[in-house]
Amino acid sequence: MKTKSLALLLAACCFLGINAGVREDFKADIKASANNYWAYPDSDLPRLTPAPEGYTPFFMNHYGRHGSRWLIGSKAYNLPVTQLEKGERNGKLTKRGKEVLALARQMRADAIGRDGELSDIGAEQHQRIAARMYRNFPEIFAGNAPVRARSTVVIRCILSMQNEVDILKMLNPNLDITTDASRAEMYYMNYDDPVVGPLRKGAYDHYESLRDKLLKPDKLGKRLFTDMKFYRDSIDSYDFTLYMFDLVGNMQSHHAYDAIDLWDLFPLDEAVDIWRYNNMRWYIWSGETPLTQCRIDFMEANLVRSFIEDADRAIAAGTPSASLRFGHESVVLPLTCLMGINGMDYQTTDLENLHKHWASYKVFPMACNLQMVYYRNTSDPNADVLVKVLLNEREATLPVLTDMAPYYHWNDVRDYLLDKLSRQPYIQSILQ
């Protein structure tokens, strides 16, 4: 118990250091407030810590979200237009409101037939990620190494996978790459856990009670409408604010909108508050909180078991290989909570202060990914296998003691994960 507390304390210290300043982060880059619409931030990746003396990477476990995409659902592009049109019909739009309506109409037209599709920027993100993966770990992607890649059955994920494996194959044509995207793999690629829906529903009130404090829809309303009484009477202003925030936030997913800036609609402090509201929702939907019996993130138990299974197999095989999986942020987020990466297993009922301890934007921008890299000692076959975790290609922490951070002893990590999974006995181990 003492070692665990120490480990947690160490993790919390690092975590606080990392997470001090959501406001500062958004001030530096307002696009980060778009949370899961934030375009993969890979312009300033830090150098990776070299392997310990005598150790070579030989296996990678990976789960990555698809890249930047169009918004999902007919309301995403339609609701901003129809609500602004109410203002237009009644002559109640400001000059800015009219400009925004014109842009929203353009985006809606552009989005026809493209519901949730991978964007040009999304494809490029995955090409860059693959190139760095190869450059960072050439020992893994060498010779005829088998690379087993699979995707969920959603097209943007399959195309993300295609963009990555294409680049890996280009860099080493001898790689033995197999791909798949099948319902048969979905039990771990994106498990539809029946427990989760009811738990989320039961916790709805916890964040809805903070809605009025964080969402001030009048502020957006004043920028777009000339008549606030009309606005409050005719527009569902909370919905409108959230949909507009996503519409603006997702423009960074497309080259076509590179030159268009709508962030004046959401000045920094308002963006922070809207983000806080979204962050709370994601915490309820994915996090390890007593508000949902600390159970929801366990929906990724099968995925963690898949990681362990593939690692065991790779360690036994002895030759380099990689296991790549392409899916969704709604998997990556609970996965990081379940594994306790960077302190994301933080447990609290205090949603109002959540943002100081748990920040989803750091975990799940578009193309977010988890890479677990395994190392062996080439001169000492009996030495421990080591593992390092990269979250969005930055070295991350696990709540496991280590004498060589950011490297961990795989046996310790494996024990920790299996022990944690065993604490929820009613999750069936569905292994094929």
């Binding site: 280009m170 860099l171 044509p173 197999t178 798949d180």
Partner: protein
Amino acid sequence: MKHTLLIIAASMAGILSANAQTARQDVAAQFARSASNHYAYPAPTRALTPAPEGYEAFYISHYGRHGSRWLSSEGAYTRPVAQLEHANREGMLTEQGKHLLYILRDVAAAAHDRAGDLSDIGAQQHRDIATRMFNNFPSVFGGKAVVTARSSMKIRCILSMQNETMTLRALNPDIRITTDASASDMGRLAYGYGEDTLANKLRARMNLITDSMYRHNIKPQRFVDQLIDNAPSLEWLDGLQLMRDVFDIAGNMQSHHRFSDIDLFHLFTVNEIFELWRIKNACWYTQFGNAPHNGNRMPFTKRNLLREMIDSTDVAIANGQRGANLRFGHESILLPLASLMELDTLNYSCDDLNQLHLHWQDYNIIPKACNIQMVFYRPVGQSKAKADDIFVKVLFNEHEAMLPVGTDMFPYYSWAQLRQYYLEKINTDINWDD
């Protein structure tokens, strides 16, 4: 011109008379052919004709079906298992029947949640096709070639595309590829849109015709008796469906490495195999081919696709950029497209479905991974060559195909003439209403 027509007539006569003898022989020689659209892509054997003197290939417009796959519905696997399990529970299975049941249980278990998925063999087919395409036409895919690849939204098509783009990248690190699989493309690449949906009523009528062929020509008794005792007395047993289901599974084993040693054709007589194939052949023909039964209209469901292929070729010729437009979809699209394009003798119009197999064989047309490659040639060094100066040849399943305009340099044709012919044909008035 007369000379050319004589050559064409002679070739067609040669092909037709050759086929009159060989359809039955073809199927008897290789039962895998009887699987119709499940026939695993036969790698090409004929060498290609060199480019015309002074010309080089610069652009390819392509439509290709996904590779080998699992059968498209789980019911295809579970239905025969359910029938045999029922017989088993009543103690009515013969030894043959039990043996078949054990095999089908394993296959159904493997197929669980995999209906329609691309198979390992399917992925390999596409890697091989891309490799040959690249090696056949280095002037198309070399250097900073631009490849635009699009797919139907069905996963097996997207993975087929992925196996090809991955292969092209391995062969040329400088190649520029963009991919897409979008609802906005489905109207052209796939089905369920526009004119294609107008044809659905017709297809339903065609189904009735071929259903009656099954009922009249297929006698399931012998087949069923080897599996189930006292079969005629069993009210729940649908012998014809059981026979057709086992035949489909038998035919699709060739799609998987893991099942390639399992032969279920031995449960059928050669004649049964031939008859089952013959009727399926008629299904494909009437549903998607140039059949008088559908008023010779089906090929026209793909006129938008052909128009798009012509449009994008016009753009490629105008901007002179080397590269390709690759489109990944389905045999149910490729077949009417190939008919519309009048490749070889595909567009054959045959009144008598009992004679059809003498002139038209689906295994020659729509195996897994079937594909059309339109290869365009221009004078060497002339990136801004005009349409008049462009030659085209069409590879159909990677053999050089005959096209519906004249030429004195087969397999090369004048693109301007072919383009004109297709555009006029595309404008044909079609009434879908009767």
